[in-house]
């Protein structure tokens, strides 16, 4: 009887443990993931306590990895360079599902309604569409030109109306895929948009798609409100120019900041940030900065633009005041600053310093370092607030 009693207690305890595997309830609005690229892991972080909560391992090759989020903020979708697509449950701090969706991927996006996750691939080139809940493949859209040539896909971004826009690097095209019916994508193709588009973005309001060109100067632009007008070329001087200066790292177009009616762009090969009028798409000013800019990111209220730099000037971050269009602050978060992400309302910014293995959190008003979070070669930082935005 004593044995039975103990057995009952043990069973009950087990039941208790099993039944309570679900953690304490918590909101998801202040969570995020930091990529630990070398280790194939992500750190789950909290922007309220400014600390790491958990580490989730087993994500494969995370160089150039990016993350999008489910509309409830619970799940993060990590696109790895090796074609891995990993769905992470932030509340249980574990991998929910993981598939190898291609041989070589360059990022992804999530549909406006949150039901579709789409990956852009190098190898084989094209776009694949997955059910966001199950990661079941719903559509495979190869990137093949009218003449039958295959292409790498770059610059994938979501747009309103269940659409995705992306560029074909090898065939000089931009495609819009309408995935209202996911298994029957409707494609709209723009050809001869400019030579070798290498990255793209959708403006924060979802209206314009822009593709940077590797093969010539200028930027290809499509007005998604009036796609019937076709693609046109703007900013014809934007690029490496005739001098062909050494370019240490092609800047990320996703880094384009829109603030105060202007776009702030990383110059290519020059230590400058360009200021462009959004109404006319013409250059208005150039701001001298510390190195070749990589990410040029606006604080959510647009008053500040933060810039990081390519090697060898990559241990610094500079802050531009958009009212005066001047650098007002320089900071040294650590060696090899790779990325930065603002909290949703902009009171703080998280900056990753890969070679010093830390993420530094700054107060954007006082520039005080509020916290340092240890991380193994951190690169990208992605907060759940991205779930609510267009063009990511």
């Amino acid at each position: 009887m004593m044995l039975r009693f103990r057995y009952a207690l043990a069973l009950a305890a087990l039941g208790w443990l099993a039944g309570c595997a679900s953690p304490q309830p918590r909101g998801t609005g202040d969570l995020g993931l930091v990529i630990e690229r070398a280790a194939g892991r992500v750190q789950l972080v909290n922007t309220t306590t400014r600390s790491a909560i958990a580490v989730i391992a087993g994500l494969g090759d995370l160089s150039h990895a990016s993350v999008v989020y489910s509309r409830d903020g619970r799940y993060g979708y990590v696109f790895g360079r090796d074609g891995g697509l990993t769905k992470i449950d932030l509340l249980l701090a574990r991998i929910d599902k993981r598939i190898m969706q291609s041989g070589n991927s360059i990022g992804g996006a999530i549909s406006q309604d949150g039901r579709l996750v789409v990956a852009a691939n190098y190898e084989p080139g094209g776009v694949r569409v997955f059910d966001a809940q199950t990661l079941e493949l719903l559509a495979d859209i190869p990137a093949v030109s009218a003449s039958g040539r295959m292409s790498k896909v770059v610059g994938l971004a979501d747009a309103p109306g269940q659409r995705f826009v992306y560029s074909l690097f090898d065939t000089d095209e931009i495609w819009i895929a309408d995935l209202t019916e996911p298994r029957a994508p409707k494609l709209q193709k723009f050809t001869d948009i400019g030579r070798a588009p290498y990255d793209g973005l959708v403006t924060p309001d979802g209206r314009y798609y822009l593709a940077g060109l590797f093969g010539e100067d200028g930027v290809a632009l499509i007005d998604l409100w009036q796609p019937e007008k076709g693609a046109r070329k703007v900013l014809r001087d934007y690029g490496r120019g005739s001098e062909k200066l050494p370019v240490y790292k092609m800047p990320h177009l996703r880094g384009w900041a829109v603030a105060n009616g202007h776009a702030y762009l990383p110059a290519i090969g020059r230590n400058e940030v360009l200021v462009v009028d959004l109404a006319t798409w013409t250059e208005r000013a150039r701001i001298s900065v510390h190195g070749q800019p990589v990410f040029v990111m606006a604080r959510p209220d647009g008053r500040q633009v933060w810039v990081n730099f390519a090697f060898p000037n990559n241990s610094a971050v500079q802050v531009i005041d958009t009212l005066r269009n001047q650098v007002v602050k320089a900071l040294e978060p650590g060696r090899a600053v790779l990325h930065l992400e603002f909290t949703p309302r902009g009171e703080a910014v998280w900056v990753s310093a890969r070679d010093d293995h830390r993420v530094v959190v700054y107060d954007t008003k006082t520039f005080e370092a509020l916290a340092k979070v240890e991380a193994d070669s951190p690169s990208g930082i992605f907060f759940t607030s991205r779930a609510l935005r267009i063009g990511f």
Copy 2:
């Protein structure tokens, strides 16, 4: 022994139940609250399943009630007309804390860092600052002019830098309170800003504070990036004008939409929506609509502006295409349409029809009614995505 065995099992079962009171983990990014004004209740809703999850009662007088959210999205703060301030736990679907903070309140806001909840009061006039976690009173800022006159406070909005901006209806002032040190607020006061400010807003980028004037035509404007420049008057024709048409309901200034470089404003006493250039603050166009507009709300991508109307034309909603500045659709969600709220990325909009006791969810692309949620005299609809925005 048998008794002891049973007792142990019962205890274990109790422990199991107690330990598992926490619900299944779920994200908070797709939740919201709908005010049931007559019943003093709120409905907890889910924008993914487009349904109501729970009802939370006991909130007092909810006419003109509004809601702000904690930065993690777990807690909603409901400001009632009777001065009640109720903190609701969305994950446990229950009241977490409730205080009577004044005799008569007109709304509230939450600080950029999410630590402070601030209420604007009619009776006694002034602003009260609370700890967002405990609802402990941290500061009480009476609204008293230099000559000693007390005032109702209206148009309270948060601004970057832990600031709050609000208007003093009875003394023609706008105050900026810097709550970096919550127990020692720093006040900046602007006097003679125009007669009887009755409502105010901060533009979505957090830069401008605008106050509508009841006592004269025009709008008072402060550039929060350059407050040293003082308050100035813009849109001098905005108001009831010389004809003094009957105004069935003063429109909500929070309804001002910013889209495509323009602000869309409800005309006062006229069946028109005004289009204003944001760079010059001058009127560019007028769009004829079905009735006197109350809320003029932009879809998050700015391509559409949705308008509801004052009695007697209040069973309709009209949709303006901001590219053509024309009404492109009219809908009839039900009698007495009081409010509307877009999902964060704008694929759907929720519209409350008070006298038909329902909230209708529309697809903003097809205008199809996707769902109807039953509710008792619903008024305001507030999604957790507001936690991430400036100026709410």
